[in-house]
Assembly symmetry: D3
Homo-oligomer: 272 residues x 6
């Protein structure tokens, strides 16, 4: 059971992967909800703005991670490999790294983590299937398998140690949807912020799983089971539909990237 | 099978518990849908307005209840104890009283009842679970158990005698949400009126169960199974979210009132 | 697996039943999405507008159907009997006719069909039940059984031959809802167009089933399983609710047309 | 609702398809449960034994069917095409014929029918899936589609006219299992008799669906939903397993007959 | 959470309803599992055998019940009304009485109760339906409603106070099945003993529900959810089937006692 | 899709973990089903018997694994850490090792693997819950998480590369059940052999999950979904029940090892 209160405003919030695509976008936004925003990544984080702490660290460095989590109220864990890559890269960043993060949270008494999982944990469902968070996993590559590892790991840290996690199975968070698949998977940055903050501040989350998407007409994912999070998307890929369809008027129906929810991930690799 | 037609406008509508919080609110509203509004309670009902009939009665008085139901088209049953109280009070008002009401309905030929059940029939589900009307009951006290009794009783009067009931598992109907929990459970008075009237006038309801809540972003209850009622909430606790959160910026995660859907009911009593 | 690309704009689109109620309504609308709109029916189709091809044909005429499907990108199959009728009529138009259509599609290499099924495949569910596309069928007459035949047939052509179908379980598509039942079942013509076009252009549909209804407050059908189609209704029977209810203030609760989702179909026939 | 009592011993029982494989086997067995066993087929039925009535009739002959059902307590309907055949054969025997049978039952007041459906209504499920009677249908050919037609038709005759049916989704009823697939699908003749008699004599069946199989270790079908029938198989394909496996030590895993539950039916046809 | 160990052999076991049909049968059997068997009823309990304590008490007498539970390891609660009776009798014995029992257990620190619920909590399901413990309740009378009350009450005492209960939805426990319905519902006395002892001694039961029946071929209830109890019936109504069927060769299919699982209970009463 | 036939008798079968508890037991048994039994472990394998090939190899040695899988028809993968251990041990043997095994299978064209998963992937379900293979995972430690990794990995190799896997969620395979928990989880060695051989020889398995247990009266796991495997246990913990219970007459109900399915694993570690 959790022993520390979850506040609406945090004293110190940690975001990993702060130099990545989503991290750069959230960096300016999350500052509004905390006194100190601690930022970590393995690449350059630039200059600290007011209220920011820059803490470069490798996820696979256990001691560095232990130090990183010290004095932190909650974590937004975006760090790690975010595409299909050779196994050894994923192993270190996403498996060893996520283990290190949760062990550090346990030792430092951090009680809530928002974990950037991925829709690729269920990427081998077809695009004409609609699933929810209870559907058995069907990862579409070693990246998806590593995110499934993180979901299972965080479930354990909840059942055993009372550390709460919201797993965000993020679809495609970009300025706008780039292709026909993203008409289903797209999440605007504003909706991403809404989802992260709802996950950080909902009174009780235990171990929850929510798909990260905007209010798109086309969807493969049913978030009914996560209504307790209070996430209500305000944007929609529908705004961009006509333009996207005009750029991609036809699709190859024999292409796994068209058939499966995971898109091109389902035909990436193997690398050796 | 029901043998009497359900009209859109009622000749005589009975509302019990008319002097209670919800009763006082609905009193002025329901008059618009009927020629005569019969009102009953054990406490003072004030003066009868045009088209009102005031009929004080104790729910546990079988004869009084039989008389109360005479000549009535339909019933909105709000009467009884509405919080966790010592068993004997609940026994008389909510168990004996509800039995008396349904027996009177059977004898007087009343064919539809809107029964104010409560979310406390499932109050021991966690606040990070989302359930629907088919979830096994987990009442959070003797009050919730008595409402479960009423749900089962009314199911029997439908299966055996063709008396239709809509069970409203009301969340928290107040002028505005008072605390963080009510961001999930709140139902505005306007939405309450919408829900009661939809329940009274839907062509066929058999034995239906619907959670009574507004269109809140945070929710623990899925009303998909009750779409045939035609209830579409127009209000939302989201309007009040910022103010409520400002007043209650932190919560104690070890408090059952924070963990379970039933809130403080889950730690009220026992009284001896 | 499908072998031909599904475009957003079609070279030649075939619509059967083009002289029927929905056909006449869609005729002008579908032209915008294709170079050539081929129209077929057994009754008079009037004069061909620019870009139209008129091809009268009987569904039960196997050779005529084979010719009809030649050179077609996709089919909107509205043809056949659309109400409860004597068995022999339904047999020829809806069973033999649908078989002929799918055989022709197989031989001509047509890869996607939008099939006008009907809510009458589940018409013997009660009006106080909410179902989805996985609910076992309960047809309400020989018409409903013939539509169930078409759904099963099209499932086979997908599993065996890779021909995709979206089965539209159309509720009541009329200019406006005519009675209390249609407050649940109504679909505006604009929403019908949206649904047909979403079904024709969704990247992958395999064999999908979707109920055809507008965004009505009262509903018996849950389209969650079909969100991948991307159909988002814009209209609602709620606009007409007050007028409809005023015209039909009471209903006979012992009438099967009031009790069951299929309405009056559930008490039509038998014809001998 | 049914209006005639279902006895344990019948005055007159009708079995169609009496000259087919299962019919010949059941002919001698069913006589023990009735005073008169009426037998029908389109091919030679031989000489009538004591208590037998021979009534050759074509299923597609409506008048003949009406006469055939006269004075009958219950029907075991085995007649019709029982393998994948050209559509027109299946249409007449299995679609028109089954319609004729149920119409005759309605007119003659027959209240219970045991309908020989087939596992081929779900033949396109994979052999590594376990399904029950609520799984959406996936027929593996026009034969399977025609049996699905019969299941839907009989559901209607129950919902509308109170005629009860047990649909037997028969696997493979032969003296012994012939191949690896039949280790899952086999039903002994003794078990077939048990299943038919349980279906005829269970007090209430409404519209029930049960898979016809012996107590085989390997199985794809879960009959939990049909336990009210009281069918308890006594035989098992396991007795024959070693011999069958010895004769078929390897299988081609790319063969649809190995992959899908329908076996070779899934690759039979099309015939033109 | 429970705080007292559940032993395999009890120091003192309490059985209420000890003078009733099942109580008399279990009296001799339960003695083998405890040092002292405390027996209670409102009617004469005869003479105490070695190791027996006789404690007449009325269930509705709160003080008597408190005394009755003192020093007890576990309870087998068979007491109360066991057939459909006028409401006031059921109210006192089954509602007030069960409340008194659980309050006494709470105050006396008793941690496990085996509660004789009844199949009549789901008696309005049809005899051609198979249900499990998660099916929504459909009681068939005030008796069934009172047992549903006990199930909900005991769920609360588990969720709130950590008192474990196994609810036994007993079918028909008699020396042998008396009629066709009991071919489905029968439980031998030996199986009753097995079920009670498994419920008393299973390491962890929380709040469990199990249908009480022997290994009958015909069944309406699926106990899969209760396999953790370890109840394995050894008897079967099948032994008596031929004799029972011979005595009752026909049934009236319009009789609710034939249609519904609750049998004659579904048409007993109302008493005024 | 698999491209190689699965035989009943193998030319060369590989068993990893051959020096472990289950490996030593299966070594003598599997030889009967193959011409050559290749055995691997990191500890001493003794002397090769006729038809045996001894191939010591470390699972984390990618090249060694590639060589190990050469010329193999199928694999029984028992290797790796089989209890809760420090993370780094589990990481190498169970995560890197299982990855290496599947990559080697892919490169060497091996088409079926029997993977020794564990009940500890769902060890945080309570002992009064009954689950099946579709229940969301709740691992009880890093060992369980690593087995969940293997299940997800093997799902991917099926979806992407057509390599079939049966995941055996083995309970407790020992000569006899040692404690009360094992009355539910025990699997005899004979049943283990039956399960492994059924998994190796079933015609089609795709990606299947089956709990490994004997026919125990007490059970927490429902294998209905895996009936296609054809595993029918012949032994039961019931034989040992009296002796086990006599040795462990009481249990501490506050011990996680008593409450949760994972037993003592749920309170092992953390190791730092």
């Amino acid at each position: 059971m959790p022993a520390a209160a979850t506040p609406l405003r945090f004293s110190r919030l940690l975001m990993t992967g702060a130099a990545g695509g989503l991290g750069r976008e959230l960096r300016g936004r999350l500052k509004a909800y905390c006194d100190t925003l601690r930022l970590s990544d393995i690449t350059d984080l630039g200059t600290a703005a007011a209220g920011e702490e820059l803490r470069p660290a490798r996820l696979e460095d256990r001691e560095a991670m232990l130090a990183l989590l010290e004095g932190v109220d909650a974590v937004v864990h975006l760090g790690g490999v975010s595409t299909e890559q050779p196994f050894d890269l994923i192993l270190q960043a996403n498996i060893v790294g996520t283990y290190n993060l949760y062990e550090a949270a346990r030792k430092q008494g951090v009680k809530r983590i928002v974990f950037a999982s991925s829709n690729h944990v269920t990427g081998f469902y077809r695009q004409d299937e609609v699933i929810d968070a209870n559907a058995p996993l069907r990862p579409d590559g070693h990246y998806g398998i590593s995110k499934a590892y993180g979901e299972n790991l965080s479930r354990y840290y909840w059942d055993r140690f009372g550390i709460e996690t919201v797993c965000l199975r993020i679809g495609s968070s970009f300025p706008e949807p780039k292709d026909r698949r993203m008409l289903a998977t797209w999440m605007s940055y504003d909706d991403l912020e809404r989802l992260v903050m709802a996950s950080l501040t909902a009174p009780v989350v235990g171990h929850s799983i929510v798909y990260g998407m905007s209010d798109n007409a086309t969807s493969w994912w049913d978030n009914t089971l996560a209504r307790h999070i209070g996430y209500r998307p305000q944007d929609s890929s529908d705004t961009f539909r006509a333009a996207v369809e005009a750029r991609h008027p036809t699709l190859d129906p024999s292409d796994p990237a068209v058939i499966y929810q995971g898109g091109a991930f389902t035909r990436t690799g193997p690398f050796e």
